[in-house]
Each structure stands twice: as structure tokens, then as C-alpha cells.
Symmetry: C2
DNA sequence: GTTTAAAATAAGAGTCGTCTAACTAATTGT
DNA sequence: ACAATTAGTTAGACGACTCTTATTTTAAAC
């Protein structure tokens, strides 16, 4: 049996590996833990056959590690959907809660029943694909940050790549939710803000914020 | 912040104290742990102001400890209701699962939303009262084991004081569920089985089983 | 090809929750 | 009242996860 902490590390490695090789030092930052702590843990994960580490490629999940990680991500995102769709929490309140709940499912049966009552959703409330549904992997790749769009572009928001409660609240207040259509009207020079149209209204978004909003070309 | 293990101990102490003074040795059996482990833990719980221990009275929860314990029991039983009523699991499958879920709620708000969608149930699927609903304490006291009934008695099943999956499955197969009406037809001598009527059928129940079924006089 | 910055490792320590083995109370039954 | 059972304590240990401080290795920059 794996501990919760082990599951958290696997999940982190999984998510980080979607953006290139996983460096232990980055993992330490992600987990808010010191580098020696990560080194210890990687040793343990390695011993359990969950990861392979090499100087060249960084940290890689093994088949077994990947399976566990995907299960955790799937459960996390299902719980997020439960928290918003069934309990009626806001999308900025669900991440922390789901982080705990994901480790509290003991069997695939319970996970499946949960998916059943939710209608087998394909994404979490922030737009991230739920592993185990078709096209999950594809979805993960196809989007690009709004900050990389040009003036005149129109796009649909695919997902928001941040769990920060404050940011999510702000985005929701502007109607910047998954499935919303945005149009880039203007980009101020020197990495300045972006003027975007959404739901008929126009807002200026900082680069930082725009970088977190993943869109798919209309 | 309290650890999950601490919460488990408080819950155990709470439940055990409903049947008289809590002896550390009994607690060790309940928690499936060695006596020194319990001694260590009681020291820690004491330091945190969650329990008081004395030779005379055994282990007693403080106000703070009692509050935590009741919260955990409440959450446990709410999750059990969720698992049966919403996910459709059987009553013999939910205890283990709820044991994990109960520690994964971070705020009274989430707990309250859960209670909302469940319709503020007063008991768990096994008939145990949910703390925080009126009469919960009263309920806990008023019932007596079926094994203490006499021939001719009629009673309503209040709850089943065991979480053993096998036993629960067996009881369900006989229709021995909370709210069911039972009539004692015969009691074999020398602590022999009890012949009871339920839903028109008649079954012989061993003393052990009958002792786990708590009833209230019709 | 040095220097510098970044990443990794080594050494030593602490907390939490658990164990076994051995010992000392305290109760209880007769 | 004393032997026997039961309860509790002491001592020493271990695994999981974390820390700090210091050092070494590797990679990048000039």
C-alpha cells in the first residue's frame, strides 16, 4: 500500500512531466519541501519501482507509477466535479478539498460509482481532462496560453492552469470560464496587458494572468 | 491541526465511553495496537488537551476532545449515508470507506453542504444517530440488545452495533434492518438461539448476533 | 578554460506512530 | 491474605517524512 505522501509525489511528477523533463529541484519547489527531502523520497519511489531517475532525463514515472498517478488525478478531478456539481461549491474552493478526498477512495468500484452519478465528465471544473476518458491526453496538448495569441485572434477557453483561489475568483467574476469565447482586441507593448472581449464586455489582462488561461483556436 | 490518527483515537474513545469507562488496554484492542502505543498516544492527547486520564476514571475526553470526536463521528455517518443513498453501495461496504473520507473534510461548510444534499439524516445506514441532530444522544441510550428481550416481546430494530461486513450482509439477507419489526417467538435454553419473526418469516438467531441488534420496545 | 550558478548529495537531527521484551503496579478470586 | 490475572510502564528500536547546514558535482556563461 502506498502512503498519501507517495501518491502526492507521483501526482506532482505526472503533472510536471506534461511540461518537459522533471528536475528534482523543481519537484522540491512544487511540493514545498527541501531538496534533500525530495532526494530521499525519490530513493524510496525508486525502490518501490514507481520512478526511474537519471542525470540525463530527470525523473520518469514507470508504468506502475504512471498508473497510480493517473488514478489519483482522475479521482482528484472527479471529486472536484462532485464538489461543484453536486455540493454546489465554487470552482475556487474545490482544489484543496479534492486533494484530501482523492486519497480516501479505496476501490475502483467506488470511483466508478462516483463517475456514474456525475455522468462521466470529461474535464474537471477548471477544464483539465479527466484521465480515463477518451481524448484526455489529446486535450492536454492541443491548447496554448492566451498570452500567445495575437490581436484579432478569437479562441475558446479550454482550461485554467492554476489552482490559486484568488485568481480563480477573479476570472470567474469576468466570465473567463472554460467554454467562454474570447477575442483579443489589443496588446500593449513591452509585455503590457492584453485587451480582451468576453461576453460582450472588455477587460485588460496582465501577461501573468493571460499565461494561465489555456485556449484552443476558434 | 490534528493528524488522522489522533482523530481516530478520539473517535474510538468517544464510542467506547458510551459503554462505561475507557480502559487503555481496551482501547489498544479496539485500535489493534499495542498497549505502549496507546500509552504514548494518550500522553500526546493529554499534552494537546484532548483527554484526561486517571487511574480511577480511565480515559475521558475533554470538551475540546469531545467536540472533535463528535465532528468525526458526524462526518463518518454522513459519508456512510452518501455512500448508500447517493452512490448506491450496500450498507456492509460503507464503513471502511467512510473511515477514510471522514478525515478528508476541511471545513464545516463542506460538511454542511453534504448534510444538505442528504436531507439532514438523523442516522447512518446502520441506525446510529448522527451527532448534531436533535435527540441523537437520547437515541443512543434508549435501545437494548435484542438478546435481552423475552419470548413474546415485539420490538423495532433501532441499529446494529457492528460494522462487520459479513454480519451486515447476513442481517440484510434476513431483512433485519433498522425500522424492521421483530417478534421473539422462542428462546432455546442454555443461551441457545432465539426464534424471531420478521417480515412474516421466522429465523433462529445466535446469542452473539442477537446481542448486536439494538431494538426499542414496540 | 575558468568562474559562476544551479543541482545534487552527505551528515545529522527531529517528530509521529508503531513495535517487542521485560518489568511493576493494581485488582480480584478464593 | 496471597496467588493469579489484568493493566500499565520502561527501555530501546524502527520506518516514514521532514528539516538545516555544508559540500560536491554538473552545467552554463563568458
Amino acid at each position: 500500500m502506498l502512503t498519501e505522501v507517495v501518491e502526492e509525489y507521483l501526482e506532482a511528477i505526472y503533472k510536471m512531466s506534461l511540461n518537459g523533463p522533471v528536475i528534482a529541484a523543481r519537484l522540491a519547489e512544487w511540493m514545498k519541501v527541501s531538496p534533500p527531502t525530495v532526494a530521499d523520497m525519490l530513493k524510496r519511489l525508486s525502490d518501490k519501482g514507481l520512478v526511474k531517475t537519471s542525470r540525463r532525463d530527470g525523473v520518469k514515472l514507470t508504468k506502475k507509477g504512471l498508473e497510480t498517478a493517473e488514478t489519483m488525478v482522475r479521482r482528484h478531478r472527479l471529486w472536484e466535479r462532485f464538489l461543484t456539481d453536486i455540493l454546489g461549491l465554487h470552482w475556487d474552493e474545490v482544489h484543496e478539498e479534492a486533494c484530501k478526498l482523492e486519497h480516501a477512495i479505496s476501490s475502483p468500484q467506488v470511483e466508478e460509482k462516483l463517475a456514474d452519478i456525475l455522468g462521466h465528465p470529461e474535464t474537471c471544473p477548471h477544464g483539465h481532462p479527466i484521465p480515463g476518458t477518451k481524448g484526455a491526453r489529446k486535450r492536454e496538448k492541443e491548447a496554448k496560453p492566451l498570452s500567445q495569441c495575437s490581436v484579432g485572434d478569437e479562441a475558446i477557453i479550454e482550461r485554467v492552469a492554476d489552482e490559486d483561489s484568488q485568481l480563480l475568483q477573479y476570472l470567474a467574476s469576468l466570465g473567463l470560464l472554460p467554454e467562454a469565447r474570447v477575442a483579443v482586441k489589443e496588446i500593449a507593448p513591452f509585455k503590457g496587458p492584453m485587451l480582451v472581449n468576453v461576453c460582450g464586455a472588455q477587460y485588460a489582462l496582465g501577461q501573468e494572468v493571460a499565461a494561465k488561461i489555456m485556449v484552443k483556436g476558434k
